[in-house]
Symmetry: C2
Subunit: 224 residues, 2 copies
DNA sequence: TGTACATCAGTGAACGCGCGTTCACTGATGTAC
DNA sequence: TGTACATCAGTGAACGCGCGTTCACTGATGTAC
């Protein structure tokens, strides 16, 4: 695992009870976010209140408020990476059709965005502001795309690796672009036609599949 | 033009010189944004310095800092709407192929994002935080999608209007999702394969076209 | 098992900083007669 | 054309507010002998 996905709390806990405090704070922060409160709205005071801790205890464990959110980001991405890897293993052995494969990955993404909606929104906004958060997001993306490109490549033996990579990358950003868009707009419906999660999976899969096929299946390779 | 796209400065100017101040402030704000400074980094002090004005003069014209950004948003969307309408007229008379039509709209979007990169980033982040900004963005989207659906519908006479609308909406969000994604990540390259604007237009058009065709061309209509 | 001492952990009142906003004042423009 | 008065516009020092962060202190745990 690379640098940016490593935990780095300020003061390593040396007693159990401080480890406890650390954990309680993380849990409380997640809970407050899950309740729909935005990150800037969540004050240190609120966090320590919810975690039955104190301001001083907080700062003994975390350098600052930002560090806490970074830890949540790392946690989320760790879990995401695990799920992704599981899906890779599954696909590697089962060798499903392109359609089924793409749908599997899109479904994982959609569900993760649903489960971690509020944390993801907080992170998305941070990413727009803070290079550290951004770097971590980029790294996760790249670690996911690599093996994805391999799997997709098996369905298009004649396509050049570079074209496969390019297609998978754009397919990836298509999916996450839409998901982030929905996150940003939250409850406000941008579109007239509402889609539930299953329908969204269906549409996104269709879009990605159509695009990837158009780019890689036809004999004329994209670049001249 | 609807409510949310109306200008509303606090105090209507009654003399020419105050209109001047108003304009100078708007220009200065745009200039500061264009220089790459983020909205929170741009202080009122910096704005009035750049516009050779003063703090008090600022507050005589604008209710607060937010109002100023709202005015910039309205300005941007007005221009965007004009461009979109021009493109509609063009397409309505020239009746190009679906491919050419989609490419035309995607190109307009990509260019606009390039030209107004920094303002758009500032707005994107505000949209994630502030419901007013969000509402305005949604309205622009819906006003653009309506006529787009009509044009696309002409290419798929047999498709149901509702399916056409759904397809156009998802096509739209595909494009803007990717563009917003790129905006958010800014200079940090998410993908290994770099795309310049023309290539991006090419890829996005391909994606949208493939998707729309897949959804509307085949006899089996999407919904059961 | 007891005592002394060192380190770790927790407490919350007080601080401070940055920036948006206000406000008392001066200057400019317009209008009435 | 001139004078008096009202309104508009501009000035910038001072204010204030919210929240993250610090810090002096108390309490808990571990260790040495």
């Amino acid at each position: 695992m690379s640098k940016t996905l490593e935990l780095r709390w300020v003061t390593p806990a040396k007693q159990d009870r401080s480890k406890d405090t650390h954990a309680r704070v993380l849990t409380a922060a997640r809970a407050l976010l899950a309740r729909g409160t935005s990150w800037p709205e969540i004050t240190i005071a609120a966090i320590v209140r919810a975690s039955r801790s104190s301001v001083g205890a907080f700062y003994a464990r975390f350098r600052d408020k930002d560090t806490l959110l970074q830890l949540l980001q790392i946690e989320l991405y760790r879990e995401g990476l695990v799920t992704a890897m599981e899906t890779f293993e599954l696909v590697k052995s089962a060798r499903p059709s392109l359609q089924v494969m793409i749908e599997a990955f899109v479904r994982v993404a959609v569900h993760s965005y649903r489960d971690q909606e509020h944390l993801r929104r907080a992170l998305l906004l941070k990413i727009g502001t803070d290079a550290d958060f951004r770097a971590r997001a980029v790294e996760l993306t790249q670690q996911t795309i690599q093996p994805l490109a391999v799997l997709v490549g098996r369905h298009f033996a004649k396509a050049r690796p570079r074209d496969v990579l390019a297609a998978v990358e754009l397919g990836h950003v298509l999916v996450y672009g839409v998901l982030d868009q929905r996150l940003l707009f939250g409850e406000t419906p941008v579109t007239r036609v509402r889609l539930d999660d299953d329908e969204l999976v269906e549409e996104l899969s269709c879009a990605v599949r159509s695009y990837v096929k158009a780019r890689l299946a036809s004999p004329r390779s994209s670049a001249k």
